[in-house]
Symmetry: C2
Subunit: 163 residues, 2 copies
Amino acid sequence: MDDLSKSPDAQALANCPVSRTLEVVGARSTLLIMREAFFGTRRFQDFTKRVGIGEAATAGRLRELTASGLLEKIPYQEPGQRGRYEYQLTDKGQDLFAAIMSLRDWGESWASDGHGPTPWRFTHRDCGEEVHTVTRCSAGHDVHAGDCTAVREPRRAVGDPVS
Amino acid sequence: MDDLSKSPDAQALANCPVSRTLEVVGARSTLLIMREAFFGTRRFQDFTKRVGIGEAATAGRLRELTASGLLEKIPYQEPGQRGRYEYQLTDKGQDLFAAIMSLRDWGESWASDGHGPTPWRFTHRDCGEEVHTVTRCSAGHDVHAGDCTAVREPRRAVGDPVS
């Protein structure tokens, strides 16, 4: 852990990928919309009811998430009704799953506030076991924060040898 | 993925652990302070310089993170100087590592915005390989969002048999 204050990367660190992710999904209601999308919620009224932020805020968040490419609007029409849209997770949206799960895991461990067990979980479809987030190195070792070194060098390019 | 709108858990879902985590660390500047703490930053002036949100905001965020128990104030004194405090990660703070890493991974994959490779990474101290976040079930299978089922039942109690 070297002295970052002496680094020309200080500016680059301020504009880091954690920061850029938070620019897209940093609003609490945005992440709650995404949580609902992982639950399988697709329709505007269901998002509104389940997130509980009101119709205007829900519409705004869905518009932002669609513009950012995390959700995709798909038209549908029920018999005798006007055409509507539902919202489906894109690959970019699906890839936020680890972030949602890690925020859930931390909240359950450290901010349960007497709420008792969380009334939902995600299980692996093939074996039924519960899903969690873990940090792991490219050589396959599970690692915790205390086992890591911060390195001020870019990630390897794709295709570079690993392990 | 069943119909949550018919569920008595709708209220409980609104007050979920993802939401509670965001109550604690949902502010962008709060997570950037935590990112710096994982880099080994300990002192007020260094947090201020590296996060770039100004002294007042830095002081406010450090106060919140200390009150929430993610950082701990440790007194230190350099020769000839007045006593000061530095900020160290607690276990509760260390456990946010997976969330920070998953937000980083997503940002680098999906919000690079022409910035090129991130100028920092975490490596496993024992083997030097880069650290990432993965989602895994309790039986040890790596799983993606598309391999999961949302279940509206509490997590198993600690001590229940797994796999």
